[in-house]
């Protein structure tokens, strides 16, 4: 009896995890080994033995590596990498500014402004960018009015607009963990650094950056992973050539009606992300206990 009662408290969260996460994943995992039916849906398996020993169940996974799709993967990695890098370069100074330069009683206000856009649907905020970037959009109209340009700038439906939309959407998720790790730094460490002769920049490099490395890693991971699987931004703000893995997966479910293939891509993507996390843990995880 002793101590066993604690397990009861785990039941609700275990229930939620199983029903809403594990169960759907298992279903998708099962789908990924099936074949698309003629009218969508699934082709019934007639001969189980043949299905298994002729590796028909692996067909979707083999197709994932079709050279046709490789450029999409490379592009997705490139876009995700660039988005993460830009978020880091923009987010760190912002987090630093709020943590060290803003008066304590005003920090809440600044954080509020970073979080408040998240209260609006991401879809709507992405549509809003169309209104700003398109040929007759806010920026182009304004620039033409003051006579800087006489032809609208091509701001929409290209790589620039995709990156802009992704960076815009992911920036808070970079700022917040870095801010949290900056706030945790003992001020006397920064003072000690200056006391020992390091100026502001040297203190940033030798004390603040190393101590916020865990926050940076968290920010990088939670920006990189969703960006790698994103599809809304490239769908709305990207041109015809800007298909990403996310769009590819979405297309299988919504347009091609090939649920098995879509599931297979999704699982390969997940496996890839897990591999990255594993490599990170293996080489850096011992030094910085974050993931």
């Amino acid at each position: 009896m002793k101590g066993k009662i604690y397990w009861l408290f785990l039941v609700p969260s275990a229930f939620i995890l199983i029903v809403f996460f594990l169960f759907p994943l298992l279903i998708m995992f099962y789908y990924s080994f099936l074949q698309r039916g003629v009218y969508g849906g699934f082709e019934p398996i007639e001969n189980v033995k043949e299905y298994i020993f002729n590796f028909i169940w692996l067909k979707n996974y083999i197709r994932v590596f079709d050279p046709l799709y490789i450029p999409i993967y490379i592009r997705s990695l490139y876009i995700a990498f660039l988005t993460t890098l830009i978020c880091l370069l923009l987010g760190y100074p912002v987090a630093y500014y709020i943590a060290f330069k803003v008066k304590p009683e005003r920090k809440i206000l600044y954080l509020f402004f970073i979080i408040v856009p998240l209260w609006t649907s991401f879809l709507i905020r992405t549509y809003a960018w169309i209104l700003i970037l398109r040929d007759e959009g806010l920026i182009n109209l304004l620039l033409m009015k003051i006579g800087v340009i006489d032809k609208p700038l091509p701001l929409l439906y290209n790589e620039f607009s995709v990156l802009l939309g992704l960076v815009y959407g992911e920036l808070p998720f970079m700022i917040l963990p870095i801010y949290a790790s900056l706030e945790r730094i003992d001020i006397s460490l920064i003072e000690a650094s200056k006391d020992l002769g390091a100026n502001e920049f040297a203190t940033l490099k030798r004390v603040i950056l190393p101590l916020t490395f865990p926050g940076i890693i968290v920010g990088v991971v939670i920006v990189f992973i969703p960006t790698l699987g994103s599809f809304i931004v490239s769908d709305l703000l990207g041109g015809a050539k800007s298909m990403l893995i996310g769009n590819l997966i979405q297309n299988q479910f919504m347009i091609a009606r090939d649920k098995p293939f879509g599931s297979a891509i999704a699982f390969v993507l997940s496996a890839f992300v897990l591999l990255l996390l594993y490599i990170y843990r293996k080489f850096l995880g011992g030094k910085f206990e974050v993931l």
Binding site: E191, G197, N199, R206
Partner: protein, 372 residues
């Protein structure tokens, strides 16, 4: 170009009229101090009196509202911390958790244009100085409080600052280790000859370790002097109290002759003292004096000797501490505290609560306080 040696000892650090407020709370009020080269100088005062703030102003972490900080003839009031020839040992040590002991100690040497070889040599020397040779590769999290303390000391001393600032560095140590570190610190300071400004709220620590002490109360300097002066000749009620001179008397002074005065403790006792004009001048007709508990002894009969004062009193209680016994006597509304060293296995005399006795002290042990 040669500096002309002056016959008067040159102050290494001059704190001139420093004031500081946080919001509308005045934390430091017109602090002026001169600290000499090679001195072990302590700032002593109760918690919240402004010691840390003064140290932080010297280090450059706070800007004073007014006043100047002069070190070795150079005005550093507006210089950032990293340009000042002072280093600090922080109250919580502030060791860099991501660096090992060697890297922590080497941190500031990077700014002294040294070769890798010289840096290594200096770090190892500094670690030897604080008896931590062999700990180079440890992380701060793998050190005890006393060891962290030594690393913090080595990290500052290796830079050979003109002044080392120490903010209650021994506070986190247990009493035994603390005593040992006091002795070590004193020895270290003597050997390397760097000026120390040491903050503490512990009177005994300040007395045992310092060349001079500044007692601070409420952001103001109450008294500056050697340990002996602060302890035996406190000038203000605060200092007397803070140093444990618990017997404070309100007295009236009557002038009898040119140098002869009568001191009256109303309804208690009158006695004569002689003082020269210079000494008596600052003392008004009504004044306060203190007598330290260990300067008083108890007798069953008054002492008929003109250099002693005998005050009739009743024994109220006795506390036996082993090395000493402390008595509380009541004398017409006053409480008189007496502390007696137990120099022999046998009590010299024992007294019982309610017993009529005399509190006796020699007149030269009376300390007249300045009134503010």
């Amino acid at each position: 170009m040669e500096k002309v040696a002056s016959s008067i000892e040159q102050a290494l650090i001059e704190i001139q009229g420093v004031s500081k407020s946080f919001g509308n709370v005045k934390v430091l009020n017109n602090i002026s101090l001169s600290i000499n080269k090679g001195e072990f100088f302590s700032l002593l005062g109760p918690s919240g009196c402004g010691k840390t703030t003064l140290l932080r102003i010297i280090a450059g972490f706070e800007k004073p509202d007014s006043g100047r900080i002069i070190i070795d003839g150079v005005d550093y009031t507006d210089a950032p911390p990293y340009r000042r020839p002072v280093n600090m040992v922080f109250q919580n040590y502030a060791l860099f958790p991501h660096l090992n002991v060697f890297e922590n100690v080497a941190f500031g040497l990077k700014y002294q244009n040294l070769s890798k070889f010289e840096i290594k040599k200096k770090v190892l020397e500094a670690l030897e100085l604080v008896q931590l040779s062999g700990f180079e590769n440890r992380k701060p999290s793998e050190l005890s409080g006393g060891q962290k303390q030594r690393v913090a000391l080595a990290r500052a001393l290796v830079l050979k600052p003109k002044v080392l600032l120490l903010d209650e560095p021994l506070n986190a140590l247990d009493p035994k280790l603390r005593k040992e570190m006091q002795i070590e610190l004193k020895k270290l300071q003597h050997n390397i000859g760097i000026t120390f400004i040491f903050v503490t709220h512990d009177q005994e620590e300040a007395l045992s370790i310092s060349d001079r002490i500044a007692v601070i109360n409420n952001g103001q300097i109450e008294q500056v002097g050697t340990g002996y002066e602060i302890f035996e000749r406190p000038r203000t009620e605060f200092v007397a109290n803070f140093m444990g001179a618990r017997n404070l008397f309100n007295a009236i002074l009557h002038r009898l002759g040119k140098h002869i005065f009568e001191v009256e403790l109303p309804n208690l006792v009158k006695f004569r003292i002689s003082m020269n004009d210079e000494k008596i001048k600052p003392i008004p007709d009504e004044f306060k004096f203190v007598v330290r508990p260990e300067k008083i002894f108890i007798r069953k009969t008054p002492l008929k000797n003109s250099s002693f004062v005998s005050v009739p009193a009743t024994v109220e209680s006795k506390l036996y501490y082993g090395a000493s016994t402390s008595w509380i006597l009541r004398a017409n509304g006053f409480l008189i505290f007496v502390e007696e060293q137990n120099r022999d296995v046998k009590f010299r005399q024992d007294f019982y609560p309610g017993e009529k006795v005399y509190a006796v002290w020699e007149k030269r042990n009376i300390v007249f306080l300045e009134t503010r």
